[in-house]
Amino acid sequence: MGRIVLNRDKCKACYLCVDACPNKVLEVDKSVNALGYYPIKVNPDKTCIGCAMCARVCPDIAIEKVYR
């Protein structure tokens, strides 16, 4: 069981993390953030394994911490 710390106001909606996540935990949020993008959000029904793939591919360092 893992957990990510997401700063949704840093996300610029490239969705590279959505593709990188092996368990498809991340999905697109329906509300905009401070930058005006639709950021990602964590789907609470899916299990995060804490592999940190999303954090590695994030160009904007929106995923600041990953716990496992």
Partner: protein, 251 residues
């Protein structure tokens, strides 16, 4: 018990503001350099040289001292910094329009002198900041704002393969070309960047890493399509790999 497996590198400022376009590989490259500085434990002892281009805002993210160099002259400035402060770790963070176009003379001569610095070059086959003009690394047939019908060999020649040129120079200790199109490729890129810094720390010569990066805005693609282009037509012309590795030989 929760265990921290990843966190923002300390070499990135706490009040960072990434100024790149959405999906741009620059952000990942900056992060990798910062992670390597953290792992080597040289953050407090590092001086970075920013260049002109999208990489111009390096001082906005790196938590190290940064000197801003004139266009293309980063490695000349790095030479001065390193020679006056030989105990410092000096790196340049440049784009291809900076390192391979206007600054190719400075680049080749700094490496011919075997300056003990590290150069990171982001190759996105275009001038990103100024609006997507053709650069020396633009692929044949690529449409840019200055090659509207695609780059033609008879008019603007062939793309410059920077790593292949620099590996022939005796002063370079590590030359590699990497991509950032998948988590695996990112990990590999980090290893290469680390070796480029080790080349400097061991006094073997110049460490150079060319990163094949995307420019989704000027390529007019989604970040996903841009990564597919890096994997496809870009990797065919600019072949990723380690071209020269004196660091492993010296071990």
């Amino acid at each position: 018990m929760e265990q921290l497996v990843y966190k923002k590198p300390d070499s990135i400022r706490d009040d960072f503001k990434i100024t790149f376009c959405p999906g741009c590989d620059h952000g990942v490259a900056v992060k990798l350099v910062a992670e390597v500085l953290d792992e080597l434990g040289v953050r407090e002892n590092t001086i970075g040289i920013a260049s002109v281009g999208c990489s111009v805002f390096s001082y906005d993210f790196f938590n190290v001292d940064i000197v801003e160099a004139p266009h293309g002259r980063s490695l000349a400035v790095a030479t001065g910094v390193k020679r006056s402060k030989p105990d410092k770790v000096v790196f340049t963070y440049q784009g291809d329009g900076d390192l391979a176009s206007i600054g190719i003379g400075e680049t080749i001569h700094a490496m011919t002198r075997g300056e003990k610095v590290t150069a990171i070059c982001i190759n996105n086959t275009t001038y990103g900041m100024t609006g997507g003009q053709a650069g020396p690394t633009t692929l044949i047939g690529q449409v840019t704002t200055t090659t509207t019908k695609g780059r033609k060999v008879e008019i603007s020649g062939y793309p410059l393969k920077v790593s292949e040129v620099l590996k022939e120079i005796d002063g370079t200790a590590f030359v590699a070309r990497v991509t950032l199109d998948s988590p695996q490729a990112i990990m590999n890129a980090k290893k290469c960047i680390k070796k480029a810094f080790e080349a400097q720390l061991k006094g073997l010569g110049t460490g150079f890493v060319e990163i094949l990066a995307t420019c989704p805005t000027n390529w007019k693609m989604t970040p996903q399509e841009a990564h597919a282009r890096v994997r496809g037509e870009m990797s065919e012309i600019f072949k990723p790999g380690i071209y020269k590795d004196k660091v492993s030989e010296a071990k």
